[in-house]
Amino acid sequence: MTALLTGLLACYLLGGLLPLCTTRPHLQNLFAHGCAAAAGVVGIVLGVAGLLSTTPLALSLASNIPHLTFAIRLDPLAAFFVLTISLVGLAASIYASGYVDEFSGRVSVGLLGSLLNGFLLSMTLVVLADNGFFFLILWEVMSLLSYALVVTEHEKPGVREAGLFYLIMTHVGTAFIILTFLIFFQDTGSFSFEAFRHPDQQLPEGLRSIAFFTALIGFGAKTGIVPLHVWLPYAHPAAPSHISALMSGVMIKTAIYGLIRVYFDFMGGEFPWWWGFTLLVAGTVSALLGVMYALMEHDLKSLLACHSVENIGIILLGMGAGMIFHTYGLHELAALGLLAGLYHTINHAAFKALLFLGAGALQFATHTRHIEEYGGLLRRMPWTGAFFLIGAVSIAALPPTNGFVSEWLVFQSLFLSFQLPSLFLKLMLPIAAAMLALTGALALACVAKAFGMSFLAQPRSAHARHATEVPRSMLVGMGFLAGLCTVLGLAPMLVVPLLDRVTAPLTGVAISSQVLALDGWVVAPVTVEFSSISTPVLAMVLVGAGALGLLMARLCGKGLRARYYKTWGCGLNLTPRMEYTATGFAQPIKQVFEAIYQPTVKLEQEFLEQSKYFIKHQRFESHIEPVFEKYLYRPVVTLLLATADRLRIIQAGSLHLYLTYIFVTLVLLLLWAG
C-alpha cells in the first residue's frame, strides 16, 4: 500500500508540475489531465485496499517545527474518502481534457490543470493527515487552491465577489476548526491525532460541548450547513464545471469527514443526546431550505449548488440519528445511521458531480447557464441528456437508483426511533423523517423542472437551437459517473460491506450481515422483519413492466397503425413562447411557501389608449428575499464597516503620523522591556 500511496502522490505532483514546464496547450492538457486520471485510478485501488486491509497504514516524517509531524494514516474512514475523491477526480479529469477548450485563449490550460492536480492532492492529503497541525495546513491549501480555481474567470462580473465571499466564509470556518484542535491540544499537549484519540484525561464536559460546537461551525461553514450555506450558490457556479463538480461532490465532503473524525473518533462513544439532536435539527433545516432555494434558482449551476445544501442535510440526518442511537447504547442502529450517512456521501458525490458535469456540458454547448434559455436539448445532445437524466433521477431518490437506497436507509434509521427510551426523541425523529419526505418531494419537483425545461420541448433561444453534442472525452467522464450511480444503486451488496468496515471501528459493531439479507439481494435496516427492499428486483420489475406494456401493445394493437404528426396546438403553430417556463413551474410552490420565500412581484403594464384590453408593453419582475443574507449577514457586515469607518481616523494617510506610531511603539516597548 505504501507503493500505491507513493504512486498517488507522485502522479499528482507530476500533474502539478509538468503542465507548467511547457507552453503548448495540448501537451499541457495531456500532462495535467493524464496525470490526474492516473492518480484517480491509483487512488481507487488504494481506497479499496485501505478499506479491505485489517491494519491501518501509518507513515510519518518528523519536522523541525514544534508539534508538526507529517503524519499520514490510512484507516478505513480515510480510505473511504480517498476512494470517493479518486472516483470523482478520475471522472472530472477525463471530462476536463475536453472541457478546457471552453477556456482556450482566455485562461492558461497549464495553470488550470496544475491547480486541479494540486486541489485533488490537497483533498486527498486532508483525509489522510494524522496530525492536527498538518491537517490545518492542508485544509488551508485546499481552501486557497479552490479559491484560485473559483476565480478562474475573474474577468466576468460577479466571479471575484463570489470568490471573496467564499474566501471569507472558509476562513471563518478554519478559525473555528483551529479552536477545536486547540481545545484538544490544551488537553493532550500534542497535535497528533493519536493523542486526540486517547487523551490521558477526559476533557471536562463544558469544554467538550464547546469543541462540539466549534467543530460544527468550522466544518459546517465548509460543508454548507444552514445558515452557513450562503456562499455555496455563489461560489460553486462561478468555478469551471469540473471544479464545481469536485467542490460540490467532494470538497464539501471533507468537512463531513472532519465531523465524523472529531465526533466519533476523537470524542468516541461519549456524547450527550442533544449533540445528535443538534445535528438532526441542522440536517433537517438544511435539507428543507436547501431544496426550497434550489427550486427558485433558474441558473442551473446555482440550482445544483443549493441541492448540495439539501444533500448535506440528508447526510447529517443519518449521522445525527446514528449519534442519538449511540448515546442510548443502541449500537447496531448507530452503525446503521452512520452507514446511511456515508452511503449518501458517496452517492451524492457521484450524482452531484455527474449533474455538474452535465451542466458544464450544457454551458459548453450553449454558452449560458440560464434554464430559461435552454429547451429541446435532448434531441440535440442525446448522450448528455441521458446521463443528466440518470443523475437527476438519482438526486430525486427515485427507485431503484443509488439516491433511493441511501435515503431509504436514512428513513429507516429515523423510523426505528421507537426503540429509544426518550419520549421527546421518539416524537422528534419521525418529525425529521416527515420533513425528509417533504424534501424528497420538493427535490423531485426541482429536478423535473431542471430536466424538463432544459431538455424537452422546443429551444427557447438561439443558443439552444444551435447546440451540438459535446466532445467524446466529456461524455466518457459523465458516462463513468452515470455507471457509478447505477452500480451504487443496483449493487448495495458490494457497497455495504465496504461501508461496514468504516463504521464498525467507530461504533463497535459490524452490521453488514444484518443489513444484507438473502445473500445481499435484499437490504434491510438491521432487522428484516421491520422492512426491506431489493433494488435489483425493483429494477427488474420496472424493466419488466415496461416490456410488458410494449408486449401488450404489440399483441392487442395488431390492427392499429401508428401515425406520426405534430403536436396539436388548437390550430396555431407551436412556438417556444407557449412553453411552460421554469419560473411558471416553480410558481405554485412559491405561493405555498410564501412565508419562507417572502417573494416580491412587480408587474408594470402599459395599455393602448383606445382600450385597456390591449397591452402595449409589460414588464414582470419577481424576486425572493434572501432571508439569511438580509437578517443574519447584512447586520454583521454593516457593523464591521461602521467599526472600520471609526478606525479610519487613525489611518490619516500621513507618512509622518505612521512614523510616529512606529516610533512611539518602539520607545514604549523599549521602556517596558527595560
Binding site: A652, S654, L659, I662
Partner: protein
C-alpha cells in the same frame, strides 16, 4: 584593569560621542546640503570608530567594513543626495513638524531614555566597546525622530541613514561587528535605499511640485 578605564575604550567612547554630536547638529540644521555634509562627517567618524575597534581587537574584517563605510556613506551616498538637492533646487527646510528648539529638547530626552534602557545591560558586557551601546541606541532614536520631524523627503532619507549608522555602531559595540556577509548585505540595502529615494523624490516633485511628504495625504481615497 576594568574595561572602561582602558585607553582604547575611552577613545572608542570619544568617537561615539562625536557621532552623537553630529546627530544633534543634523537636528539643528535647516540647510539641506549642510545636513548631508554632517551625515558624511558622521559616517567618517563611524569609519574611524570601526577602524579603531579593528586595531584594538585585531578583527581584520572590521577594517573592511570601515573601508566600505568610507566609500559608500562618505563618498557615494552624499554625492547622490547632493545631486538630488541640486536638481530639485531645494536648499532649505522651511516648514517643520516640530521646531528646532523643541526638537533638540526631545533629542536630549531620547538620549536619556537610551541610557536608561541600556543601563542594566551594559555592566553585563565585557567588550571594550560596551559603553557605545547606549550612544548607538540614542543615535537610532534620533535618526528616527528626524524622519518624523522633517517634511522634505531628502532629510527623511538622511534620518534613515543616521539610523543605519546607529545600527552599525550598535553592532560594533555589542559584538565587534556583524559577520562580513551581513554587513555587505546591509551596505547594499542602504545604497539601494539611497537610489530609490533619489527616484522617489524626483517623482514626488513631478507629481506634487514639491518634495514635501505631507502632500502624500491626498493619495488617501
Amino acid at each position: 584593569m576594568p574595561a572602561s578605564t582602558h585607553l582604547g575604550s575611552q577613545l572608542v567612547d570619544l568617537c561615539s560621542v562625536l557621532l552623537l554630536l553630529c546627530c544633534f547638529a543634523i537636528v539643528a540644521q535647516r540647510r539641506l546640503s549642510a545636513c548631508v555634509d554632517l551625515f558624511a562627517l558622521q559616517s567618517a567618524f563611524l569609519a574611524a570608530t570601526a577602524a579603531l575597534v579593528a586595531f584594538l581587537t585585531g578583527h581584520k574584517h572590521i577594517y573592511f567594513a570601515a573601508a566600505l563605510t568610507i566609500v559608500i556613506k562618505v563618498i557615494v551616498l552624499p554625492r547622490i543626495l547632493r545631486k538630488v538637492i541640486e536638481r530639485l533646487n531645494v536648499s532649505r527646510e522651511l516648514g517643520m513638524n516640530i521646531n528646532i528648539p523643541a526638537g533638540l529638547l526631545i533629542c536630549g530626552a531620547l538620549v536619556i531614555i537610551a541610557f536608561f534602557i541600556t543601563q542594566p545591560i551594559i555592566p553585563l558586557g565585557y567588550l571594550l566597546t560596551r559603553d557605545s551601546l547606549a550612544i548607538a541606541l540614542a543615535i537610532i532614536l534620533i535618526g528616527f525622530f528626524t524622519m518624523i520631524a522633517r517634511q522634505k523627503a531628502i532629510t527623511q532619507m538622511v534620518g534613515f541613514l543616521v539610523m543605519e549608522n546607529g545600527v552599525f555602531l550598535g553592532a560594533t559595540a555589542a559584538a565587534y561587528g556583524m559577520p562580513l556577509i551581513v554587513e555587505l548585505g546591509v551596505f547594499f540595502d542602504v545604497l539601494v535605499a539611497g537610489l530609490i529615494v533619489g527616484i522617489y523624490t524626483h517623482r514626488l516633485q513631478d507629481t506634487f511640485d514639491s518634495v514635501d511628504t505631507s502632500t502624500l495625504t491626498v493619495l488617501k481615497e
